[in-house]
C-alpha cells in the first residue's frame, strides 16, 4: 500500500454522477421494483426465485455502487464491503444447508 502524505485530492474521485443521473437511477430502481411485483403475482413457477434474486441483486448493486459512491471510491473500500457481504452470504448459505436437509428442520 503506497504512502501519501496528506491529501491526494482528486486521485480517488474519478467522477460524480449528476442530479439527472441520480434521478434516472431512482427511476430504474422504481421500474425494477415494479417488475418484481408483477413477477411475484405472475405464475412463473420455479423461475420466480431466480428472477427475484437477480433483480434484487441489481438494485442492491446499483444503490451501493452509485448512491453510496463505491464505484468511484478507492478499491479498498469495495474490498472491505465485499468481505462482509461475502462472509454473511456464505454463513447464510451454510446455515440453510445445515437446517434444510431433507427439506425440513432436522430437530422437528
Amino acid at each position: 500500500m503506497s504512502v501519501e502524505s496528506g491529501h491526494a485530492a482528486g486521485a480517488h474521485e474519478r467522477s460524480h454522477p449528476t442530479v439527472r443521473q441520480y434521478l434516472l437511477i431512482g427511476l430504474l430502481l422504481t421500474l425494477i421494483t415494479v417488475v418484481e411485483l408483477i413477477a411475484s403475482y405472475s405464475d412463473l413457477g420455479s423461475l420466480l426465485i431466480p428472477i427475484l434474486f437477480v433483480l434484487s441483486a441489481v438494485k442492491f448493486a446499483v444503490v451501493i455502487a452509485y448512491f453510496m459512491h463505491l464505484r468511484f471510491e478507492d478499491a479498498l473500500l469495495t474490498r472491505i464491503f465485499v468481505v462482509g457481504f461475502v462472509l454473511a452470504s456464505a454463513i447464510l448459505i451454510s446455515l440453510l444447508a445445515l437446517f434444510w436437509t431433507d427439506g425440513a428442520i432436522s430437530n422437528r
Partner: protein, 610 residues
C-alpha cells in the same frame, strides 16, 4: 524524558495526574494501562474461581461448594477469563503498542478508544454484579438452550449474561473498528503493510475477526433475551424453535473468538523471539499469511463444537476437513518460530522463557485440538476433561504465557522500570510447572471418562489421583501469580531510568523514551525497512530530527466517552429491571453523543479525533 535525538524537541508536557485525568483520558497509553490493570484484576478473579473449582474437585464428594454454586463458578470462570481477562489484556497491548509500532501519536479515533474501555468496564461490572443477587450465569459460558430458557433458568442470571455480553461485544466492536482504521491509515512514512511488525498484523486480524463475528453473537443474544422476556420461541422446541440454532449462532462467533484469544499472544511471541534470539523473525511473510489464513478458516470450522449433536455425516466431514486444515497455518507459525530460534544468539530473559515455553505448551494444546477434529475421536472426547486439557493448554499455555512474555518484555517501555529477572524466573517456573501439573493430568481424566462440569464424583472411578494432582498444580499457579504481583509492585518502587531500547529490539516503540512522552514521538519516524531500528543500526542511519517549532497537537481529554458508557450501562440495567431506567439510559446516551459531536477537539477541525 525526550530522547537524545530530540534534544531540541518541544518540551515534554507533563501528563496530567489525578482521578479525573484518568476518567477523561483519550491517550492510548493510559487507556492501555486501564485495560491492563482491569484485565489483570479480572484474571485474578477468574483464578480465584478456578481455585474454588479445583478445591471442590480435589477429592471425591468434596463439600467446598454445592452444585449450583459450582455451576456458576465454572461458567463465570470461563466468562471472566475470556471476556474480562485475556481479551482486555490483549487490548492493553494493542492500545499501548500499535500507535507506537506504526509511528503514530495515537489511534485514529481517541475518544472512541476511551469509549471502548468504559463500555468494557460497564459490561465487566454488570456481569459480576450478578453474583450479588445470587444470579451469576450458571449454564456454561456457551449458554446452550434450552437450559438457558425461562422454564429452566428461572432467575435473572441469563439476562445478566445477554445484557453484559452485548455491552462487552459493543466495546470490542468499537475498539476493533478503531484499530483497523488506525493500522490502515496512520502508518508513518515508509511503513508499508509488509514492513509492519507481526504484532500489528495480528492486531488487525483479531480486529477483523471481532468486527465480523460479534454481530452474529449479538443476534443470538438478542434472540435469547427475546425468548426469555418477550415470549418468542427461537430456541424452544415446544414453540417451534430449535436449540441447535443457538449452538450454531453461538459458535459462528465462538470459534473466531478463540482465534481472537490466541493471535495477540502469537503476535507478542513473534516480537519477543527475534529480539532475544538476536535475529529477524524467520519467514515473516509466511507468518503473516498464516495469520490471515487462520482468520479466514476460523469462520469455516464452527460446527466442530457440535460433532455430537446429530449434524449428519456431510456436515461432520466438511467441518472435520476444515478443522484439520486450520492446523496447517498454525503449524507454519510454529515452525517459523523454531526457525527464528535456530542459529540465534539466545538471551534467556524471563520474557524469553515465557515465549519459548509458549511454543511448547501451545503446541501440546494444538495436538489435542487436531485429535478433536476427528468426529469419531471427538465422540469420545467431547464433554470430557480431555477438552478441558486442550483448551487450557492453548489458552493458558498459549495466550497467558504469551501475555506474560509480553509483560516482562514491554514493562520497561511502559513504566521505565524493569521487572526483577530473578523473581520473574521464579514466577515462570511456578507457572510452567503449575500449568503442566494442573492440565496434563486432565488428558488422562478425560480418556478415563471424567465428564466436564460435574461438581463432584464418587470414589472408585480412578479419578482421585489426577484430580488431586491437578488441584496441587492450580495452587502452584496461584503461587506463581502471587510471585508476579510481588514482582510488579516491587518493581514499581524503583527509579524509572530504563533506557529507550534496553533489549536492543528492532521495532519503533523502542525508538522513543521509556516510558514515552505524552506525544509518543518527538519526530514522526521514517521507516526504511522491516525491523526499522536494526536496519538503521546496521546501515548507520538516523531517525529524523524533531522540529523544535512544531506544535504537536494532542486531542484534548473528554468526559463524553465515560458519560455515554454510563448511559449504555443504564440501558443495560433497564433491560434487567424497568423500562424507565432504559429510557433514561437512552437520554443520557443521546445527550452524550450530541456533546461529543459538538465538542471542540483542537485547532484543526478533525485532527484524528472523532
Amino acid at each position: 524524558m525526550a530522547t537524545a535525538a530530540g534534544a531540541l524537541a518541544p518540551p515534554a508536557v507533563q501528563a496530567p495526574s489525578g482521578v479525573w485525568s484518568w476518567l477523561t483520558t483519550v491517550d492510548h497509553k493510559r487507556i492501555g494501562t486501564l485495560y491492563g490493570i482491569s484485565g489483570m484484576s479480572f484474571f485474578v478473579l477468574g483464578g480465584i474461581e478456578a481455585l474454588l473449582i479445583r478445591s471442590q474437585l480435589a477429592v471425591p464428594n468434596g463439600d467446598v461448594v454445592d452444585a449450583d454454586r459450582f455451576n456458576a463458578l465454572f461458567s463465570m470462570h470461563a466468562l471472566t477469563m475470556i471476556f474480562l481477562g485475556v481479551m482486555p489484556l490483549g487490548a492493553a497491548f494493542f492500545n499501548w503498542l500499535v500507535p507506537l509500532m506504526i509511528g503514530a501519536r495515537d489511534v485514529a479515533f481517541p475518544r472512541l478508544n476511551a469509549l471502548s474501555y468504559w463500555f468494557f468496564l460497564a459490561g465487566a461490572l454488570m456481569l459480576n454484579a450478578s453474583w450479588l443477587p445470587g444470579d451469576a450465569p450458571d449454564t456454561g459460558w456457551f449458554a446452550y438452550a434450552p437450559l438457558t430458557e425461562a422454564p429452566f433458568s428461572t432467575g435473572r442470571a441469563m439476562d445478566f449474561y445477554t445484557v453484559s455480553l452485548i455491552i462487552l461485544g459493543t466495546s470490542s466492536l468499537i475498539a476493533s473498528l478503531n484499530f483497523i482504521v488506525t493500522i490502515i491509515n496512520l502508518r508513518a512514512p515508509g511503513l508499508t503493510m509488509f514492513r509492519l511488525p507481526v504484532f500489528v498484523w495480528m492486531t488487525m486480524i483479531v480486529s477483523w475477526l471481532l468486527v465480523l463475528s460479534l454481530p452474529v453473537l449479538t443476534v443470538g443474544l438478542v434472540q435469547l433475551y427475546f425468548d426469555r422476556n418477550f415470549t418468542t420461541n427461537f430456541f424452544i422446541q415446544e414453540g417451534g424453535g430449535d436449540p441447535i440454532l443457538w449452538q450454531h449462532i453461538f459458535w459462528i462467533f465462538g470459534h473466531p473468538e478463540v482465534y481472537v484469544l490466541i493471535l495477540p499472544a502469537m503476535g507478542i511471541v513473534s516480537e519477543v523471539l527475534p529480539t532475544f534470539a538476536r535475529k529477524p523473525l524467520f519467514g515473516y511473510a509466511a507468518v503473516v499469511f498464516a495469520g490471515v489464513a487462520i482468520a479466514v478458516l476460523g469462520f469455516a470450522v464452527w460446527s466442530h463444537h457440535m460433532f455430537t449433536t446429530g449434524l449428519g455425516p456431510v456436515p461432520r466431514v466438511v467441518f472435520s476437513a476444515t478443522t484439520m486444515t486450520i492446523a496447517v497455518p498454525t503449524g507454519v507459525k510454529i515452525f517459523n518460530w523454531l526457525g527464528t530460534l535456530y542459529g540465534g544468539n539466545i538471551r534467556f530473559t524471563t520474557s524469553m522463557y515465557f515465549a519459548v515455553a509458549f511454543i511448547a505448551t501451545f503446541t501440546i494444546g494444538g495436538i489435542s485440538g487436531v485429535m478433536h477434529a476427528s468426529p469419531p475421536i471427538d465422540s469420545q472426547q467431547q464433554d470430557t476433561y480431555f477438552i478441558v486439557a486442550h483448551l487450557h493448554y492453548v489458552l493458558f499455555g498459549g495466550a497467558i504465557m504469551g501475555i506474560f512474555s509480553g509483560i516482562y518484555y514491554w514493562f520497561p517501555k511502559f513504566t521505565g522500570r524493569f521487572l526483577s529477572e530473578s523473581i520473574g524466573k521464579l514466577h515462570f517456573w511456578l507457572f510452567f510447572i503449575g500449568m503442566n501439573l494442573t492440565f496434563f493430568p486432565m488428558h488422562f481424566l478425560g480418556v478415563s471418562g471424567m465428564p466436564r462440569r460435574i461438581y463432584t464424583y464418587d470414589a472408585g472411578f480412578g479419578w482421585e489421583t489426577w484430580n488431586f494432582v491437578a488441584t496441587v498444580g492450580a495452587f502452584t499457579i496461584a503461587a506463581g501469580m502471587l510471585t508476579f504481583i510481588w514482582n510488579f509492585f516491587r518493581s514499581l518502587r524503583e527509579e524509572p531510568n530504563a533506557p529507550d531500547n534496553p533489549w536492543d529490539a528492532p521495532t519503533l516503540e523502542w525508538a522513543t523514551s521509556s516510558p514515552p512522552p505524552e506525544h509518543d514521538f518527538d519526530a514522526v519516524p521514517l521507516v526504511r525497512a522491516r525491523d526499522p531500528l536494526w536496519h538503521d543500526r546496521d546501515n548507520g542511519l538516523a531517525q529524523p530530527e524533531a522540529d523544535p517549532n512544531e506544535h504537536i497537537h494532542l486531542p484534548p481529554p473528554s468526559y463524553y466517552p465515560l458519560l455515554i458508557a454510563v448511559g449504555f450501562a443504564l440501558m443495560g440495567i433497564g433491560a434487567l429491571s424497568h423500562l424507565a431506567v432504559l429510557a433514561l439510559g437512552v437520554v443520557v446516551v443521546v445527550y452524550g453523543v450530541w456533546g461529543w459531536v459538538l465538542e471542540p477537539t483542537g485547532p484543526e477541525p478533525a485532527a484524528g479525533a472523532h
